[in-house]
């Protein structure tokens, strides 16, 4: 049974990671088309891909959007989670449902709605527009992480800070934020990853300011080129680093409870 379990687990991981691994392997393969047997090892596709200025521009766009999205959505997510933790009020269930709603919407619908809305505001096609759309998508994740952390906090901790002479802001700064620090860093990583990866909504609203996933599609539409594998590998490594960092922080924080 145990051996069977391992086979099953390996099969699942193989199924998930085989395409990514293939992309990774072919990014170093000298052949023009992804066929077996492999040709020789080369970093040529990386060289070519990263010598294109539009690739660098897209990476810069993606990094800016991911960074700003991470900061803004983590701030909003933390504030939402803290409101839930601290206050009881009417329609709180509705408030929470609304706050967690965006990821349940089909991305195409979200993309279309964002396009229509951002055009009305005249910021469609700008980085600001992409950031706004990504903040909407990423905030619920940040909120969920912060909420989980706050639920592990002894409610007496905040009152204890007041009791020892902290004002409300003092308790926030000296108790709530330090307690939530692992969750906040984790939320920053995860929301950055959500934004860095996100394609559909970005495709609708990005216009000429393409992010990396949008640019990949555009290259792909032209022709199948192993440069895509190279760029894809870089994107994958970046996102995985962020997600693993987030996971690590969520896991590690358990120890100090």
């Amino acid at each position: 049974m145990r051996a069977l379990g391992w086979v099953y687990l390996s099969a699942v991981f193989l199924f998930i990671f085989a395409p990514i691994a293939a992309s990774f392997i072919f990014s170093f393969n000298s052949d023009r088309f992804p066929t077996l047997p492999l040709g020789s090892f080369t970093t040529d596709w990386y060289m070519r891909a990263f010598s294109r200025p539009e690739v660098w521009q897209a990476i810069a766009n993606s990094l800016i959007v991911a960074g700003v999205t991470a900061v803004v959505s983590t701030f909003i997510g933390f504030a939402t989670a803290y409101t839930d933790f601290r206050y009881g009020f009417r329609f709180k269930t509705a408030y929470l449902a609304l706050a967690l709603l965006p990821p349940t919407l089909p991305l195409v619908i979200m993309g279309l709605a964002m396009l229509a809305w951002l055009s009305q505001l005249g910021i469609s096609g700008t980085l600001t527009g992409i950031v706004i759309a990504h903040v909407v998508l990423a905030t619920p994740f940040a909120m969920a992480i912060c909420r989980l952390r706050l639920s592990q906090m002894d409610p007496a901790l905040e009152a204890a800070a007041w009791n020892l002479g902290s004002s409300q802001w003092g308790a926030m700064r000296h108790v709530i934020l330090p307690f939530c620090a692992p969750a906040i860093v984790s939320a920053l990583c995860l929301t950055a990853a959500v934004s860095f990866d996100e394609f559909i909504v970005a495709w609708f609203v990005s216009g000429l300011n393409r992010t990396v996933p949008v640019m990949i599609l555009e290259i792909l539409q032209g022709n199948v080129d192993p440069q895509i594998n190279a760029i894809g590998t870089v994107v994958f490594v970046t996102s995985m680093t962020l997600v693993v960092a987030a996971q690590f922080l969520i896991f590690r924080k358990r120890q100090d409870d």
Partner: protein, 347 residues
């Protein structure tokens, strides 16, 4: 007597339609160890939280040191509390926890470290200052919590069931630590508990609360031997209660006529379990008949439970030798007698 440190005057607190505390009048003296005791939901914790400013009274006034404190936020009071959960900060080291109150008061780093170290020494925690909270035992955490609350040298310390999470043997030791500390410092301790052994062992005065109101205030002995109300008699100690009209030295009760020494008209008397004598044959004097139910070992003796014909529960405390001689069986009838001079008349 000097001015009391704390005065509650007609204090009322409700949460929505739920009344937690009603028309509370209470003076707390400087330097006394006061225990607020009662079953859960009696309002004792709400009373303590109002004193700390964590809840505002719905009406009435609370003054500390002669100043009305109703609307003073918690951080502007000097009423540190030891929490039931201890509420130590898990992301700070032991010494940083102790320093917290001084840091919030803007005291310079060097001085606050020195004062925190002094308190850690006093609490027998030297050498633990850089530890994390989760590296300490229950008793050590307790002492960190005490040091953290006392480092600002307050006039009054609030304690909210601080020993409820400890093992029995640690509870006894911490009781000793707390009483000695309170006498040494000479400050006021307000101690909330549902445990009468804790309250009676430590407090100078005990306040018994029930359903949001004070039932009785007194020294432990007074309350233990002289409960004023049925609520207190039932909550405190192992008491048996008899009620009925008294005429010509005889009280007519549901358990039959019982001689009493004095009184006239409706009366309630308390017969403490340790003052009840068991016998198989009817003795002379005050006695009732009841069927044996079960026994319970209670450390100092054995508590035997009985049921009277009308369904009331009676308790009698006996020694192990007495129990062996009687070897009662379930359902067996006994006579429970007592000296009428050693009953307590309520009211």
């Amino acid at each position: 007597m000097t001015d009391p440190l704390v005065q509650f005057r007609a204090v009322h607190k409700s949460f929505g339609s739920y009344v937690a505390v009603k028309s509370l009048d209470l003076d707390i003296q400087r330097g006394e160890f006061l225990a607020l005791m009662g079953p859960s939901g009696c309002g004792k914790t709400t009373t303590l939280r109002m004193l700390a400013g964590l809840e505002a009274p719905t009406s009435g006034t609370i003054s500390i040191g002669g100043r009305v404190m109703n609307n003073v936020p918690p951080h502007q009071r000097d009423t540190p509390m030891v929490w039931q959960s201890l509420a130590l900060f898990p992301f700070l080291s032991v010494v940083e926890n102790v320093e917290f109150g001084l840091r919030m008061r803007g005291i310079a780093a060097a001085e606050r470290r020195e004062r925190a170290m002094m308190w850690l020494g006093r609490m027998d925690l030297q050498g633990f200052e850089t530890r994390r909270i989760d590296q300490l035992s229950g008793g050590q955490r307790q002492r960190v919590a005490l040091a953290r609350s006392l480092v600002t040298e307050p006039e009054m310390l609030l304690l909210d069931e601080p020993l409820s999470a400890l093992d029995a043997h640690l509870v006894i030791r911490m009781q000793g630590v707390l009483t000695r500390l309170q006498k040494d410092l000479g400050i006021t301790f307000v101690y909330v508990t549902h445990s009468q052994s804790e309250a009676f062992a430590m407090a100078d005065r005990v306040v018994i609360m029930g359903h949001g109101a004070i039932e009785q205030i007194g020294r432990p002995q007074e309350i233990f031997r002289g409960p004023k109300t049925r609520f207190v008699a039932e909550f405190v100690g192992r008491n048996n209660i008899l009620a009925g009209p008294v005429k010509a030295g005889v009280m007519t009760t549901a358990q039959g006529p019982v001689p009493v020494l004095s009184g006239d008209g409706p009366m309630e008397i308390v017969v403490a379990a340790d003052r009840v004598t068991l016998s198989r044959d009817r003795p002379a004097g005050a006695a009732i008949r009841a069927a044996f139910l079960s026994e319970e070992f209670a450390g100092t003796g054995i508590i035997c439970y009985f049921e009277t014909p009308d369904g009331a529960e009676w308790k009698a405390q006996v020694t192990e030798t007495q129990l062996a001689e009687l070897h009662p069986e379930s359902g067996q009838d006994f006579w429970l007698s007592w000296d009428p001079a050693r009953v307590h008349v309520m009211g």
